[in-house]
């Protein structure tokens, strides 16, 4: 029979697990390199653009139109995205229903599909009724810009909202239901106030996605100056004209807009942009 003493190891040297340094240094080098490259890219943009080309870009009527349309379309597509993403996120977070997994998969399509294909698919969709009834006012017009931005931004916003609702325990709704709420009231009075940050995160994500949207807009809304030209379209048009400095100046405007979004989201207490 084994005695308790057999388990006591006395003659082995003290075990040393080894230093943590190589692991920590490895983590720091890999993470640091990526962060440095991100910052270096932006510094390179700034270094390349001189004040003259920045000013001439800002003075150009086309660019002013493009900035205006970008701000307007991104804001509208963000509102539309939240309008759909909040109920969609809540539905998929709280309810089990037949076809839920299928719906989940369908919602991933705009995220995984190549952006250009979304544009082509929208173009195809507007050949069929009832969409075709409106296509003369939509396709290659401003509404096409907003729809193209919405189709991608909404998928990201819906994911963000789903995660945000998942993080709010159902206990609050349960208590609210016993106190006399119906499901709708429990949602408005108890869940929505707690989802404020999630809504802000989803909105910021949708806005940033919309701002950078290019492929679907190019295909579905075209790249007509002073009509469907948004900032990424301007970069593309400047590049086609061989105006590298103009292209970088516009990119810088987009970097500033993105930075403004990041700073605003941090100021409003969000820890990170994407969930």
């Amino acid at each position: 029979m084994q005695s308790a003493d057999d388990n006591v190891v006395t003659d082995l040297p003290r075990f040393r697990p080894g230093s943590d340094k190589p692991f920590i240094v490895g983590l720091s080098i890999l993470s640091g390199t990526y962060a440095v490259i991100i910052v270096a890219m932006i510094v390179a943009d700034i270094a390349y653009v001189d004040a003259d080309s920045m000013l001439s870009a800002l003075r150009s009527k086309e660019i002013q139109y493009s900035i205006g349309l970008s701000l307007l379309s991104c804001s509208l597509s963000t509102l539309l995205s939240l309008w759909v993403a909040i109920p969609l996120g809540y539905l998929t977070s709280r309810f089990d229903f037949p076809g839920k997994r299928l719906l989940d998969t369908v919602l991933d399509i705009p995220i995984v599909l190549p952006p250009l294909v979304i544009g082509i698919s929208l173009l195809a969709l507007f050949n069929f009724a009832p969409f075709s009834w409106t296509s003369q006012w939509v396709v290659f017009e401003i509404p096409a810009v907003i729809i193209a931005q919405f189709m991608v931004a909404c998928a990201f916003a819906a994911r963000a909202m789903r995660i945000s609702f998942d993080q709010i325990p159902t206990r609050y709704e349960k208590v609210a239901l016993t106190l006399g709420c119906n499901r709708g009231k429990a949602f408005w009075l108890v869940v929505m106030p707690q989802a404020k940050r999630g809504i802000l995160a989803a909105g910021t994500l949708a806005w940033a996605r919309s701002l950078g949207e290019f492929g679907p807009i190019l295909v579905f809304a075209g790249s007509t100056r002073m009509r469907t030209e948004v900032l990424p379209t301007s970069v593309y048009l400047e590049m086609q004209a061989g105006n590298l400095k103009g292209m970088l100046a516009i990119s810088l405007i987009m970097i500033l807009a993105a930075a403004a979004v990041l700073v605003t989201s941090r100021l409003m207490g969000m820890k990170r942009l994407a969930p």
Binding site: R171, K174, V175, A176, T178, L179, L189
Partner: protein
């Protein structure tokens, strides 16, 4: 009386079947059993928070099986109180009365009365994140009592508290609930709570519920 007859609940791989329980009016019933045996499911079914696949639930003489939770007149306190994080203590206590569109004067009187009874009068303007564990449970109990329920369902209301606070809330339960005519179903793992609070003990094990007095 809380009466559950042949309750059946299926949810994924978990199921309860043929669970029956009778708790006479005004008595304090404690449900004990291992984690995961279905105590919370049973309690939530009584509150109307869990869809059931079969059986009948009666509160008093009324069959409430198909009634919504808010129509059953059951006060519910979950494990950590689940105070609404965006509402002050006063608004937590007033929540159900505001929903019922009660007169502002009546709401204020009721909130003050509850706050005094539960010893939270000095906390009325505070937000939940600035309250201690014991204070939260007091407010949660007050919020559940605000609708003057005839039935109270408590899901391990004392389990997250340290020993001293546990005793304090335990005394409060004895004072405010026991002997007031409210019929209580209380889930716990604590032997002392079973010994001192329970008029009836329901033991849940292997999908069966036994009753001891």
């Amino acid at each position: 009386m809380i009466s559950v007859e042949k309750l059946q609940v299926r949810q994924g791989e978990f199921s309860l079947s043929d669970i029956s329980l009778k708790l006479p009016e005004g008595e304090y019933g404690v449900i004990v059993g291992r984690s995961g045996c279905g105590k919370t499911t049973l309690l939530e079914a009584v509150c109307g928070l869990r869809p059931i696949d079969g059986g009948r639930i009666c509160l008093g003489s009324e069959d409430v099986t198909t009634l919504k939770p808010g129509e059953r007149g059951v006060g519910y306190v979950p494990q950590d109180g689940a105070l609404f994080p965006h509402l002050s203590v006063a608004r937590q206590l007033a929540f159900a009365l505001v929903l019922r569109k009660a007169e502002p004067k009546h709401i204020q009187e009721r909130v003050e009365e509850l706050a005094e009874r539960l010893g939270v009068s000095h906390l009325l303007d505070r937000m939940p994140d600035s309250l201690s564990g014991g204070e939260r449970q007091r407010v949660a109990l007050g919020r559940a009592l605000s609708i003057r329920p005839r039935y109270l369902c408590l899901d391990e209301p004392l389990s997250a508290l340290d020993e001293e606070t546990h005793d304090e809330i335990y005394d409060l339960l004895v004072q405010t609930v026991k002997g007031t005519g409210v019929t209580v179903l209380h889930i716990t793992h604590n032997k002392r709570e079973v010994e001192n609070l329970a008029d009836v003990v329901f033991r849940m094990a292997d999908n069966e519920l036994s009753c001891e007095r």
